[in-house]
Symmetry: none
Subunit: 415 residues, 2 copies
Amino acid sequence: MIVELVSTGTELLLGQIVNTNAPFLAARLNELGFSVIYQTTVGDNRERMKNVLKTALDRADIVITSGGLGPTQGDITKEVTASLLNRSMYLHEVSAERIKRFFDERRICMPGNNLRQAMMPEGAIVVDNTCGTAPGVIIENQTTGKVIIHLPGPPHELSAMFEMSIVPYLKERFGVQGVIVSKVLRTYGLGESALEEKIKEYILSQSNPTLALLARNGEIHVRITARAENEIEARRLIDELEGHIRPHINEYVFGIDDETLEKSVGNLLLAKDLTIALAESCTGGLVTSRITDVPGSSSYLIGSIVCYSNAVKITSVGVPEEIIAVKGAVSQEAAESMAQGIRKQFSTGIGIAVTGIAGPTGATNDKPVGLVYIAIDGPAGTVCHQHYFNGTRTDIKHRTALAALNHLRQYLLIL
Amino acid sequence: MIVELVSTGTELLLGQIVNTNAPFLAARLNELGFSVIYQTTVGDNRERMKNVLKTALDRADIVITSGGLGPTQGDITKEVTASLLNRSMYLHEVSAERIKRFFDERRICMPGNNLRQAMMPEGAIVVDNTCGTAPGVIIENQTTGKVIIHLPGPPHELSAMFEMSIVPYLKERFGVQGVIVSKVLRTYGLGESALEEKIKEYILSQSNPTLALLARNGEIHVRITARAENEIEARRLIDELEGHIRPHINEYVFGIDDETLEKSVGNLLLAKDLTIALAESCTGGLVTSRITDVPGSSSYLIGSIVCYSNAVKITSVGVPEEIIAVKGAVSQEAAESMAQGIRKQFSTGIGIAVTGIAGPTGATNDKPVGLVYIAIDGPAGTVCHQHYFNGTRTDIKHRTALAALNHLRQYLLIL
């Protein structure tokens, strides 16, 4: 089955945003055994969009569009398809009701034009949107047997709708043979190319399962994808390949599939029955925020102090004034004292502290931008790690948060 | 002048890499006054690539391809163009020499197939590659006056070649196309459709400048884009339209272009010479982290306490036990007490507090997931705002952080 992806939106043509929907859809469709042969991007222009969709329907069996399902006048994808296929538009009551509810739940009165999102081409299969207001659309051409699918532009809405509704539809409609199962080993601590070196022979030699490396905000994901008659067989193929590559990368693997660094840290804290408190300086609360992204984190996170000023480091976290004066707020001594101080103050099992120079200012001759100290105090004593990170201020904050979570994970593992 | 971008490479079709070349080229070409009307992606397949290039040359004046200039058998872009235009290929001696030197300088013996990169279509203008081995190619069709340009795939090679050689060529070949200037009014507090209703007449009536609404992580950006002979004229057109729409949306505009909500809050704190401290519960430090994303925020942010447990709310922030017991930790009274407590404890000009139910658990009959209280204490007294947010745990945290920053901004504006 030949698939063409059509991304709509003038903001794409102007280069104002990078298109992440197309690679997501392309990767998943290939895993499902569909061949994505063309990808086209067109602006919110009726004539040009019509031409693009016509060409796509000529050369592909399945056309999947993203974007242009919003409530505004610029959102024209459904109308263009309707006119291309000579179908009239009607108000889909169920969707209209769902959209009204969406606003009621937020105690907001719904702007009238949001009902545009409930207008559908005659004979369309309406697909629920669980993350937003715009429903998806599936239109089957009975004579040609070809299918056009409209998905919303926001990536989290598109991916959720694709996994929940479109994948089952495609499997049922086109009788996908067997199953495709993926397993992701999430790693931290090694770059993409360095990780690739360790398992290159398997990446090159493998056709089923396939092995792919994906860089994801500082993590590298190793995705193993197997195609087989049934799930048991697919799992067996995956386990076999994982058995081969694990010895080469094991120390860097922190989680499986959607297990984040903060989730694996949370699981370890629960397993060891430990509570935690944080003292953050340069990360400004980012590490604590990541920890609280995990549902149920309130059962081990007691609290944190963002001690941005030296005064707060001294008065609220209990760092001795001499350390700040002699060693500086960005020093191993300060970090260790912060970790011990916050653990004592909130009487937790673990105390972790971060201090560093996020930049762009604040550097000295011996302390460059990106210098960070991460200290952990707990049952195994106090440890401190020194890092030199690069990038922008927010890059450094992000990399520091990842490193802090990973050091915490390693500290908890040996307890 | 109409431009079509053609991205080649099976890795793009497979979704293995995100295409950053297209948005780079699109943004730069629009700045130069060229209109990028279509973007197409095709794999390393002669027949399909030939069809895509033929279609592109039919509907565009200038076709710019990226990728497929490498040394491998899969790199076929130049050959496909040559056969499409009925031109033979020849070895470009200068490029061959340069490629040999490239390897000699690195003391590496050159693989023979690298000479494929020096093969050029007859009559092509060869463009030097200062960052890699693959030269670029410009082919002019004397009869149609149309131009096809081949650029290498690696982003740093492509961008360098575009700036150094292609921009001067386009300016010389097609004359100055004038400029396109954009200005973004960043708004918060109104949904995309509600905002559109306020300025719909202008969106529908405008062709130059154009008006576009873009939803960006909870903000709505109003983009005004003008095309003109020069920047001064473009700015004049933008100012004129902005003058018309401002009265309708002014209360929701918090920043211009890349001015974030936290940046505008920071500017206000500096202007009013006020310091700030935060007490965060359900956001877990996210609001403080956003505030510290701004360089120089250490001059007004003193510190924060993430009071996740009730014990910390009571002991570290000074919330009276009765309030927690009678009204609950998620209540207007608790939020106001937290804001007053943190302001007093860190002796700052402003104290802001957030408490709510991020979910998925923790809801009660009268307190659903998404219920959030945001309180601010400062020179103008104590104010508290109640919200009902929806979405996942992280959605609710994100929406709460945006609302908190915006309430803070509005509080500071009236001081």
